[in-house]
Subunit: 534 residues, 2 copies
């Protein structure tokens, strides 16, 4: 027997509808070179529809991909709504990827139009022969686009919007229609794409506003520092609009002082950003020769990797600000868990509470989580057994986009996260290791396998193993262990890697050893390397 | 282009999974004749699966309807999960309906098994020939079932559970599978059924935990007084289990003092119940010869009709307790709006805040609302124009179950609520009238049209119009305006009505008038009657 409820699809346009109808007076505030720009949700809605019209004028059809290569600003936020609401697909391209990877994913995603910050035009000029189907570029700026050597039409965003009307009748879409794409760096090879749907984005946004999660609330003010160019700024653009909250955006290429000026002006109560950005702000506060007013802040959500308890303590003790964490990834929209103090810990003294707050959190509603050993046998939730964390949820990907590597990650209806963890009896995840050979440096993935393979391609290298070492600034940095078969210097090996990889991938430290320790099945035993050398 | 996310259905079993895995230690507390019964979610989960096994033993198959005729207790809550999770349909039958309507809906819904409180057996004995396909009855009690004249198998609930095992592998279901049914009284004729789905219940439960809504939170304790036998106790059983909150249930046939004892023992922070129950508790507090400890309570959610501002003020001024309201109905699972003080009213003095809190609230996420005039033309949200409120949401019904009357209520993809309202520019609904001829007395619907038709069937009556009059206890009571064509007394008319309708339908007041005023198109002008006589 079927239920007899309305077949109302879960659609991103319903988030926009609510912000406009209930919260038209609330603001989106963006830092710009010439000060802070304030726009209300009422203005925002009109501009979103102008952008949809402009994209239609450029020939964008339902299902077409629209790429963005842009910072966290209000225009980028307009694209977050205009593109999916018209039935097209918002492909956010990570600004920090090396140019060749940007070229790869523009072509792999079949982007038709690109929305780019003016500072990104030189990158595209360098990729002129790798732009695939791109037929036009909109430049996100107040001004006319700068001179460019590109032969494609390059159009100013404001001029394009000014030429259009504010009305656009967004279609009703099947909720499984693609809404967005984002590429994530894998253990090896090209980045892999994830295709989000209206359903997944809507459910994820709804869950951001629940208790025991971020609890996005229209009475709070949210500063979104996590890149909108990657992992959907943790879903906060959709969550904040759905709940009608004030949004504060740090604008183009912010540095330490810019974050603090944005906090002083926008007076956010909540901040979401990478652990490394939180540390950068902390250092700026500590060493600045002027004092900064961060008194509006109540909560810092720091992620990308687990925030150290020392950071949590510093913010709490010096500014009364709570640092919270969650766990997730590109494949999961990204949020899977959130760490709060559940009621059974309500009376803990502060020192003991940090042990709980240092965990990765409890699964959100509609997130199913399990620990499995190498044979796929489920492990108990007793705080002692560990296993690879696998997850299932309506907002987790079922595959990578057109990518043969999907089968190793998506199996039996589960996503295998590659993270090794324990679960407490009350459902808190505690990560202990990674099964995949990835290093997370400054919030960005570095593939140890790719580095090892290229090191071993050097004629003087017999074996090479790369592992993560703790780093005070980047949290992790790669260290290379090398067994040589001919004379070679550290500088030569670094140059060899720099020719192929982004410079931040290149290890700061090379250790020459006699042999790489091996596991029972002959694999490099990186656990031993980490234990003995790092 | 389609999204490539997991096809994970929205299912009620995911709510249970979360309560068991994360909140196994939290409690469900039920008032019983012999004291308060405490069960943990861990125990609850095992009992839910035992019940599913017991129902399978009784022959229940996917899609079969399981009726409940029961009070708010933990066993009823077990049925809320066991029945839909096994793929069957939970048909909650309103305890307060007249017996003949109970007989009608048991047959109309094709109930196969009934779960009933021991005090309900006499009702079923009186309906012995109107039990349709019912093949067995489970009696929700600690004890063996009492003697009965029913010839069906009548089985004790605890004995049935004890005979089964705690394991049951709940199937993965299409999210549009029917999960529940509830019948609502209409303007005329038999009650009309609504069929909820796993999708609608899950989304509704999720939304109960969001900011700007009830905000169900595991750190709070919820006393559910709204009948679980009607309108899903406002969805709170599903919402509280999803979020892992402590549940406090008032048990079988509670009276004023029972509510207060339950508050003292269960120490709820939140209470949901009918406005009339809230008023009853207030009167008990005012007139009791002992003092009661209601200090645990922070919020009373009173509904069924709008709580008077005088009630809000009494609770706030005497106990510091906030009274909140929402708007919804059986057809909408039921919640459509919730009234909180949005940030723009944050600084209002208390007196002005009551004007806002007296509204019916803002639409929840995923609820689309519009005002339309008689021609279906949408009216502006300016706080001045009024219109019938129509709604659209994934948790609103698309039709009544097997009922020819559906077409007048469900049109063009909208549910026409029958309520007349205004919308403020910031999206607050203010109800002003009802387009349907219904009177809401003590939280129960009374059909004025049915009363009028039967009055006019009396040989002495020429015309009759029934309207609602304000009442201090029941909030509304029917008043009959009668034009006679022969001598008749009030007592005769009351007896005439009592022969056909439940006694609470019979007007307390009959007014004999010369003619019923008419509208331009010749209909009874009830607005005029209300204005001049009530």
């Amino acid at each position: 027997m079927r239920g007899q409820m309305m077949d109302v699809p879960l659609q991103i346009k319903s988030l926009l509808w609510r912000a406009e109808r209930l919260y038209g007076h609330k603001e989106i505030i963006t830092r710009t070179e010439s000060g802070f720009r304030h726009r209300t949700y009422a203005e925002f809605g009109g501009r979103v529809r102008r952008l949809a019209n402009a994209l239609r004028t450029l020939g964008i059809q339902p299902g077409d991909r629209v790429g963005t290569l842009a910072w966290n600003n209000d225009r980028h936020l307009e694209a977050y709504f205009a593109v999916p609401c018209m039935g097209a697909v918002l492909h956010t391209i990570n600004l920090r990827l090396p140019a060749e990877q940007i070229g790869y994913i523009i072509q792999h995603a079949d982007d038709e139009v690109l929305l780019v910050g003016p500072d990104m035009l030189p990158v595209l000029e360098g990729l002129r022969d790798q732009l695939g189907r791109v037929r036009a570029i909109l430049v996100l700026s107040d001004d006319d686009p700068p001179e460019t050597t590109l032969t494609l039409p390059v159009v100013g965003y404001e001029a394009a919007l000014a030429a259009e009307k504010e009305e656009y009748d967004f279609p009703d879409l099947d909720e499984n229609t693609a809404a967005g794409m984002c590429y994530t760096s894998g253990t090896t090879g090209h980045p892999k794409g994830v295709v989000y749907s209206h359903r997944s984005h809507t459910l994820h946004a709804l869950t951001l506003g629940t208790t025991g999660s971020i609890g996005v609330d229209e009475r709070e003010r949210y500063m979104l520092v996590t890149p909108m160019s990657h992992v959907n700024s943790w879903g906060m653009p959709y969550g904040c609009v759905l709940y009608g909250a004030t949004i504060v955006l740090p604008g183009d290429h912010p540095v330490g002082v810019d974050y603090l000026e944005t906090i002083e002006h926008g007076r956010p109560t909540f901040f979401s950003g990478a652990v490394t950005v939180g540390m950068l702000i902390r250092e700026t506060l500590q060493h600045s020769d002027r004092s900064w007013d961060v008194s509006s802040l109540k909560t810092l959500w720091l992620g990308g990797q687990a925030p150290p308890v020392s950071e949590m303590r510093w913010w709490k003790e010096n500014h009364g600000i709570d640092v919270v964490q969650a766990w997730g990834m590109t494949e999961a929209s990204p949020l899977l868990t959130f760490c709060g103090l559940a009621s059974q810990y309500g009376d803990l003294p502060a020192e003991d509470a940090y042990e709980v707050l240092g965990r990765q959190g409890q699964p959100l509603p509609l997130v199913d989580i399990a620990l499995v050993d190498d044979e796929g046998v489920e492990q108990p939730w007793d705080g002692a057994h560990s296993g690879e964390v696998r997850v299932r949820s309506p907002w987790v990907a079922s595959t990578y986009y057109d990518d043969a590597r999907s089968a190793e990650t998506f199996r039996d209806g589960w996503f295998y996260s590659g993270d090794i963890g324990r679960m407490t009896a009350d459902g808190y995840l505690i990560l202990v290791d990674r099964s995949k050979d990835l290093i997370k440096s400054g919030g960005e993935w570095i593939s140890s396998v790719d580095l090892e393979n290229h090191l071993m391609a050097h004629p003087a290298v017999k074996e090479a193993a790369v592992v993560a070492a703790p780093d005070p600034k980047w949290l992790e940095r790669p260290v290379a262990f090398v067994v040589t078969q001919a004379a070679v210097t550290t500088a030569e090996l670094a140059a060899h890697l720099r020719a192929k990889f982004p410079s931040f991938w290149v290890p700061d430290r090379f250790e020459f050893i006699d042999a790489v320790p091996k596991t029972g099945v002959g694999k490099f035993d990186k656990k031993l390397l980490r234990r003995d050398y790092v």
